[in-house]
Symmetry: C2
Subunit: 309 residues, 2 copies
């Protein structure tokens, strides 16, 4: 148990991310009060059933009253609406942050509503799984994962340090970035991979010559890896696509161009070009493992987990 | 221990697949003699060091002498050369099989060399990891995985049953398929996923606006999943691309067409189209888990394995 860092924290949205924060805050004793709000009555009830906070209210505006830290964890397309609702009740001196996967759009949506005296510091913990909802969260989700902040030009340094200390307490490593650069980085490390995964699963699902049951039966030969990302929350990912459009379209164009080159090499039997790429990409994997960003166990260690093994 | 199914098994090639077969055969006592052959002196020495077989010879032609079952586990592009080398020494009545990921090409390469009286039955165990070489294999790799056979029109039914019994002893589920259909199925469930993974890792590696260290640092947000497949053996995958060209090009064309549709939906802000696809793909994941073809643990259960957690 640490000393509480905040008297009252308000969590707006209690899905995978919000509920993981709630669990960490509770476990670490980082706040006296944790007010949870969800626009879904069912989700709110479930959060209460799981005892994720100390207070539960359906209205986001109610939830933020007297809160020293407000964390908005909703699909990025809802950021503006939430900011508008909570703005009148934000306490002077409070820190307002979010966890959205796109930053320029979230800033554009939220900043206009933030009253003077409230410290709005956009943030993005790079953590999650393909599951969603309050049951999917778990304590420790953010441990050793990066949390990127995209402070605004007038962000108060002390407030930023306070927010970083909070995420560090959750186990995160913290980084600052320009919002536009964040959106480019995320477009390649997260958004493009998800879009590609959704796309290939869709392609496979639509085939006429190979049945769906064959795709499923034989999926362990590679395909199943993509289905994990393609099982992520549809609302969240629809919003990301719509709110990081420019960076995503740029990365998609590059990806398609590279794929056309690869396709041409396959068509013309240019084995050396294929071999060169396939060798180079191996090194990237090695670097990721060395950086502690993935497990080294073959096949993500699935064999160790599979109950049948 | 089972009774030996074969007096002598010859394993031509002792990488991930060959060495996993060797380990199973040894553990289960499926043969009296296991002759191992590799064209790489280093690999052969390592196989001997690991005590994977009972005899070790550098010449594939030597290895197959008196063998009742010959399993060729080499990159598919080498199938023809291996068949030519071993053909004169194959024992009448022996079963000759392979483990290649493409079947029409392997048949075209090997069948012309197979002498009368030898039962050539192409096979493909759908199992593996991103690691390669004799150290990467392990007993149990084939357990609950499918092994597909693409028998030729004149394949001896008894020999086919004998070969299937062998794979069943290794824990595999067995299936028959037409070679052309096999190649189409594998193009979507295995070859396209690998090519896409190689491609996206290459795209990320080539960016100028996002540094490679950023890609690695933040890879846990999706990208790292692709790096696993993109760390697979380059020779093996070059050969697959070259030897299943038609089916791969067909699947690539469909994938690119679907991606263009998705890209257009992103550009024009058509959230409903994105949401529809992202919802549909979730069901595919669910079916794969229900079919026992992947673990249900979030994030492939990485959190459970990560030593830092």
């Amino acid at each position: 148990m640490t000393d509480p860092q905040f008297n009252r924290i308000a969590l707006i949205g209690i899905g995978l991310i919000g509920s993981s924060i709630a669990r960490d805050v509770k476990e670490l004793g980082l706040a006296n009060d944790v007010v949870i709000s969800s626009r879904s009555a069912e989700t709110l009830k479930r959060a209460e059933g799981l005892q994720l906070g100390t207070h539960y209210v359906s209205s986001a505006a109610e939830a933020v009253k007297d809160a020293d830290l407000v964390i908005v964890s909703v699909p990025v397309g809802s950021s503006g609406a939430v900011a508008e609702q909570i703005a009148p009740n934000l306490k002077p001196g409070a820190i307002l942050t979010d966890v959205g996967s796109t930053k320029a759009s979230v800033i554009a949506q939220m900043a206009p509503f933030v009253p003077d005296g409230v410290h709005f510091i956009p943030g993005h913990p790079l953590a999650g799984t393909e599951k969603s909802g309050p049951d999917a969260g778990f304590a420790g989700l953010f441990r050793d994962r990066w949390c990127i902040f995209t402070p605004l030009p007038d962000t108060d340094a002390e407030a930023l340090e306070k927010l970083k200390a909070f995420w560090i307490a959750l186990g995160s490593r913290v980084d600052d970035m320009d919002p536009q650069h964040h959106d480019k980085v995320l477009a390649i490390v997260s958004h493009l991979p998800h879009i590609i995964a959704y796309n290939i699963v869709g392609t496979a699902d639509d085939l006429e010559t190979v049945t769906e049951s064959e795709v499923i039966k034989y999926s362990a030969s590679g395909f199943r890896d993509f289905t994990r990302l393609a099982a992520s929350d549809p609302t969240m990912w629809r919003d990301i696509c719509l709110h990081n459009k420019d960076a995503i379209l740029e990365m998609l164009a590059r990806f398609s161009e590279d794929l056309a080159y690869l396709q041409r090499a396959i068509r013309w039997g240019e084995g050396d070009k294929l071999f060169e790429l396939f060798t180079r990409t191996r090194d990237v994997r090695r670097s990721i493992i060395q950086a502690g960003q993935d497990v080294d166990a073959p096949d993500f260690g699935r064999h160790a987990l599979d109950p049948k093994k």
